[in-house]
């Protein structure tokens, strides 16, 4: 199931990149998926996708948007206004921290060109 849901989300991304007249770069695609995931999550539409597809819905970047939104909503509920600012970052801190630290360590390699 993870395969189907994850594959379908990526397929949508590919179609957006291939079918739009202006070249949508990977940056645009990533931003679009995070924002899209956030909004779907707020509308309560993303959790069912995760219940169904597990990692198939959490691993695509839209899942990252979902985590941000749920974190922010959770933060607002517990801490009020301050929580809106901290909640999303708290919920995704592990991922961002991992990306920065691994990214830094990986510079022991050299780009191959």
């Amino acid at each position: 199931m993870a395969f189907l849901i994850g594959g379908t989300i990526c397929l949508i991304g590919q179609l957006i990149m291939d079918l739009t007249p202006f070249s949508v770069t990977p940056s645009h695609a990533l931003v679009g998926f995070v924002v899209g995931g956030s909004i779907l999550s707020a509308l309560g539409l993303y959790q069912p996708l995760i219940n169904m597809g597990g990692a198939g819905a959490t691993i695509p970047l839209s899942g990252f948007g979902h985590a941000l939104t749920q974190g922010a909503i959770e933060g607002v509920k517990t801490k009020g206004m301050i929580g809106a600012l901290s909640g999303g970052i708290e919920a995704t801190a592990v991922g961002v921290g991992a990306a920065i630290i691994f990214g830094y360590i990986i510079t022991i390699f050299t780009p191959q060109g």
Binding site: S23, T25, P26
Partner: protein, 337 residues
């Protein structure tokens, strides 16, 4: 003295300068292409023993100059002027090559039309007796261009179908007085032409109108036509741009037929997965220094028009929504027997 200017934008030289020596250095991918036999040196990896791609590009350029000098047993001291350029910000490859060479230097920027720009200026200076020996040289490097204009090299993404592959390579041409052999008899200086193309992954389409404009201008100024040439070759219009330029020229009544080709199409084999074809300063340079001038010396072509084509964009101008202006300069090269 006869006035050397003809028509609106063209020049005819009184004493056409001779191309006395050429050299081409290319990267591994170009070295696997259909023209591999025509290159002087094929480097084994894109770093060429240097610490960065930028340093490698500058070294490739120096190497091309060194080989060109060696072929005619000239010293650097005997060269009056070094006209060079490349694609990098502030043309660092050419600047740093000039630092090593110690030859009086003008840095040029005409994007991928820089080689022809250098050839025209060099020819003018030699014909005007301001210099005896001049080197015109350019370089480009796939990795330096990708990182400046597009994405980091290790990022996983698909290149659009219209994208062109920047050639890793450098070409150097030495001009001097001479009688027999390939000589630059005329030139046309192009105008910047912009038909509003904004897609930086489709530079051939952006440059095609400039190429067409310059080629038509040369025909009109010199009162010639496609029949007067054995070959008309553009720099790096690649698959789509070449077809567009041909359509634009033929609309004006000049039928080019199969006399029209493009260095970007010659340099790679379609199986090399470069999409539309090659691009970069090095593209027209290594094809000219190798295949084209070899073919002239062997008598296959007697008179060709070489049209350097450049896309005058910058990463900033693209982000600011500017369209891509194109430029094209032409030189007419004739073989004197």
């Amino acid at each position: 003295m006869r006035f050397k200017r003809i028509g609106k934008q063209s020049i005819l030289f009184n004493h056409p300068p001779k191309i006395i020596s050429t050299a081409s250095v290319v990267g591994p991918k170009e070295g696997e292409g259909p023209l591999k036999e025509t290159f002087d040196l094929i480097i084994k990896d894109n770093l060429f023993g240097e610490k960065s791609w930028e340093k490698a590009e500058s070294k490739i350029l120096q190497e091309a100059v060194r080989i060109a000098l060696e072929k005619v047993k000239l010293n650097r001291e005997e060269i009056d002027l070094f006209l060079a350029g490349d694609l990098l910000n502030q043309t660092i490859s050419a600047n740093f090559a000039a630092r090593q060479l110690g030859i009086p230097f003008f840095g040029l920027y005409g994007a991928c039309a820089t080689l022809v720009e250098g050839l025209i200026l060099g020819s003018v200076l030699i014909d005007g007796a301001y210099a005896e020996n001049i080197i015109a040289a350019v370089s480009s490097h796939h990795d330096t261009a990708e990182r400046q204009f597009r994405f980091p090299r290790e990022m996983g993404h698909q290149r659009p179908v219209t994208a062109q592959w920047t050639v890793t390579g450098a070409g150097a041409i030495i001009l001097a007085k001479g009688e027999k052999g390939p000589r630059i008899t005329g030139a046309t200086v192009g105008k910047v032409v912009d038909f509003g193309i904004k897609d930086q992954n489709d530079m051939g389409s952006a440059m095609a109108p400039a190429a067409a404009d310059t080629i038509i201008r040369n025909f009109r100024d010199t009162n010639t036509g496609p029949d007067d040439f054995d070959l008309i070759v553009t720099g790096d219009l690649a698959l789509i741009g070449k077809t567009l330029a041909q359509q634009l020229i033929e609309r004006e009544g000049y039928i080019l037929g199969d006399k029209f080709t493009d260095c970007g199409l010659l340099i790679y084999d379609p199986v090399q997965d470069t999409h539309a074809g090659g691009s970069g300063c090095g593209c027209s340079a290594v094809v000219t220094c190798g295949y084209l001038l070899d073919s002239m010396k062997s008598g296959k072509y007697k008179k060709i028009m070489l049209v350097g084509t450049g896309a005058l964009l910058s990463p900033l101008s693209i982000l600011q929504g500017e369209s891509i202006p194109g430029i094209a300069h032409a030189v007419v090269i004739e073989n004197f027997i």
